[in-house]
């Protein structure tokens, strides 16, 4: 390997630099911005996050207000997306549901990532039998069909949004553990890790300060992609009747309640379906864009 990037020291002016961190992010953003599709994904995600934050302000109606007289209304001026089987305003429910679905996504992925990272870092850094044991445990998790794991967890703990998050989180652990372990193995081989070890740093310092930040970008990418999966999984669990507790307007639950009216009142399933799909789509292309922007090899 030979130096490719040769920057003339003298040309870099001290004045024009502010915070080095900031420039780092700016460069990243510049690269990311160039990927139009990824940007669209980012905007979709941002859009939903805003919806979630401002749901109470922009919801036209009370999402919980049951009005059995006006149930199953098709979209109209009053109910832009119609009403559901209990006469609740679907738009309002969707808006409130954004919070739940995003929370499910974020919390479960965070949970899965946290444990996955912990396992992956330990396995990758220490290697040997620790690695073997951890990876076998991960294998068990992986071999255990995910939906069954979820079923089991939810049967054990009762169906609630929190348990859905736990369940969905648990089955993203193996993914994270594997990715983190892989990256840890490759980062651990880097010379600067040896250099810092040669300086006498403790394992803890090395893992936290040097390995962790450098495995973060694949983890972030994986997390955005996992977010999409998590939202879909939660919806799948709702379909099996294991999801959020009524009357909470979780999207998967809404979608699944709409399946009874798939033929008679398709709008009930359609709108949550579109919401899920677009959000998942958003996360997916956002994640892809992140990957490209964070991947040094993809600089073009």
């Amino acid at each position: 390997m030979k130096p490719e990037v040769v920057i003339n020291h003298t040309e870099l002016n001290v004045k024009e630099r502010k915070s080095p961190k900031l420039r780092h992010w700016k460069a990243f953003y510049k690269k990311f911005k160039r990927n139009k599709l990824a940007l669209v994904g980012g905007y979709i995600v941002l859009f939903y996050i805003l919806l979630a934050i401002f749901a109470p302000l922009i919801s036209p109606q009370d999402p919980y207000e049951i009005d059995l007289v006006n149930k199953l209304q098709p979209p109209s001026a009053e109910h832009w997306m119609g009403t559901d089987d209990k006469g609740r305003d679907i738009l309002s429910r969707l808006l409130y549901g954004t919070r739940l679905s995003l929370t499910v996504g974020f919390v479960s992925v965070f949970f899965g990532a946290f444990i996955g990272i912990l396992l992956g870092l330990t396995a990758g850094y220490y290697g040997k039998w620790i690695d073997t044991v951890i990876m076998r445990i991960v294998d068990v998790l992986l071999a255990f069909p995910g939906i069954l794991l979820a079923l089991a967890i939810i049967s054990a703990l009762g169906p609630s949004l929190i348990n859905v998050m736990v369940a969905v989180g648990v089955f993203s652990i193996p993914m994270f553990a594997r990715i983190v372990r892989g990256s840890t193995l490759s980062v651990r081989k880097l010379e600067y890790i040896d250099a810092i070890r040669a300086l006498g740093a403790t394992d803890f310092t090395i893992i936290c300060k040097h390995i962790f930040p450098n495995i973060l970008s694949p983890v972030i990418v994986q997390a955005t992609l996992r977010l999409a999966t998590a939202i879909l999984s939660a919806a799948g669990l709702s379909f099996l009747g294991l999801g959020a507790q009524p009357p909470s307007p979780e999207w998967g639950a809404m979608l699944s309640s709409g399946r009874d009216y798939l033929f008679s009142a398709p709008h009930i399933a359609l709108f949550p379906g579109i919401a899920i799909s677009t959000l998942v789509l958003g996360f997916n292309i956002f994640g892809d864009g992140l990957r490209d922007a964070l991947d040094p090899r993809m600089k073009k």
């Binding site: 030979k2 130096p3 490719e4 040769v6 920057i7 003339n8 020291h9 003298t10 040309e11 690269k31 160039r34 600089k299 073009k300």
Partner: protein
């Protein structure tokens, strides 16, 4: 340089640019040289000086986008390769002009056996059957000194050592008896003892087939031992173009001199090496004048204002430096030099 009837390849003012987000990188910025039948031309220069891009340009293999041959001409046996169709180029590549790449480890396809990869080129250009091509491939392996070539031909690259892989590359390149062989740092990744074997091999084969060779390297020692003529590149340009022996006894360009002085010598003890201060300029922000001027101890203001042309200053020597021009005497000294 004097006109030569044996001239097989002539490059004139070749320019290859990369259009990237950071800007335009003039990786090869107007270079001219020529190659005679059977001779070996060395191209030396530091990393990033444009050696590989030059060689890839010759075969029109520049990754595009972002790269593009922006100008000049490449006359191969009198015809300009830049005007040829892609199909015509394909019949030239691997057949009349072949190439050995810098990285023997990654330049072979990991999923096909060595023999297959050699035979592929033979079948393509010599229209031989599967069997004949294979036999020929085995012959080629034997020729490049691989023991028990029948067995080795069936092995895949990962089963071969670095030296052997490079020999497979050479066999592949020479399989169709090309008239020009471009070897891009064929030994950089190898150990000295293996390097010696490979260079020896190229020399022998060159003699046997009468192939003209362009040998790209950053090792001046290799040039000295293998080449007839040499072009020294700096920042996308040829700064000195001369006979190989000449460059060691009588270097002209300040950069060439600096380079030679930077080398730790095996024949004498030095307490301190002479260095060239500073670093190579970024390809995205080349100085206006001579690209070596910021590091040149002799630079005058003229050096920073205009790019010197490559000019003949002797029967077989061309240099691109204001020092060897009539303007030099009139030019003013520049301000103090920058260090690192």
């Amino acid at each position: 340089m004097k006109q030569d009837a044996d001239k097989i390849l002539e490059v004139k003012n070749l320019q290859t640019h990369f259009f990237t987000d950071e800007g335009t990188s003039k990786a090869v910025n107007g270079i001219s040289f020529s190659l005679n039948k059977g001779e070996t031309l060395g191209i030396v220069g530091e990393s990033g000086s444009g050696k590989s891009i030059t060689s890839l340009s010759l075969l029109r293999l520049i990754p595009s986008p972002p790269g593009k041959i922006a100008g000049g001409s490449i006359l191969f046996k009198g015809e300009d390769l830049l005007t040829k169709s892609e199909k015509q180029m394909r019949s030239i590549r691997g057949n009349e002009i072949s190439m050995i790449f810098q990285e023997p480890m990654t330049s072979l396809n990991p999923v096909y056996s060595a023999g297959e990869q050699i035979a592929e080129a033979i079948r393509l250009h010599q229209k031989l059957g599967k069997k004949e091509a294979w036999d020929k491939a085995v012959d080629m392996l034997r020729l490049v000194g691989i023991p028990s070539p029948e067995k080795r031909a069936k092995q895949e690259p990962h089963e071969l050592s670095g030296g052997m892989r490079q020999r497979v590359m050479i066999a592949m390149a020479l399989a169709c008896h090309p008239e020009v062989l471009i070897a891009d740092e064929p030994t950089t990744a190898l150990d000295v003892t293996i390097q010696a074997q490979i260079l020896e091999l190229i020399k022998t084969l060159q003699k046997d087939f009468g192939t003209a060779v362009i040998l790209i390297t950053h090792d001046l020692g290799v040039v000295y031992e293998t080449c007839d003529r040499v072009a020294v590149m700096y920042a996308g340009k040829i700064v000195e173009y001369t006979l190989a022996k000449e460059i060691f006894t009588n270097p002209k360009h300040p950069y060439t001199i600096g380079l030679l002085n930077s080398l730790p010598r095996l024949d004498m003890d030095q307490e301190e090496l002479t260095t060239i201060p500073g670093t190579v300029p970024s390809p995205y922000s080349m100085p206006k004048g001579c690209s070596f001027a910021p590091r040149c101890a002799h630079a005058k203001s003229i050096c920073e204002q205009a790019v010197p042309d490559l000019q003949a200053i002797g029967p077989s020597t061309e240099v691109s430096c204001w020092m060897f021009t009539p303007q030099w005497e009139k030019a003013y000294d520049t301000q103090e030099k920058v260090g690192i």
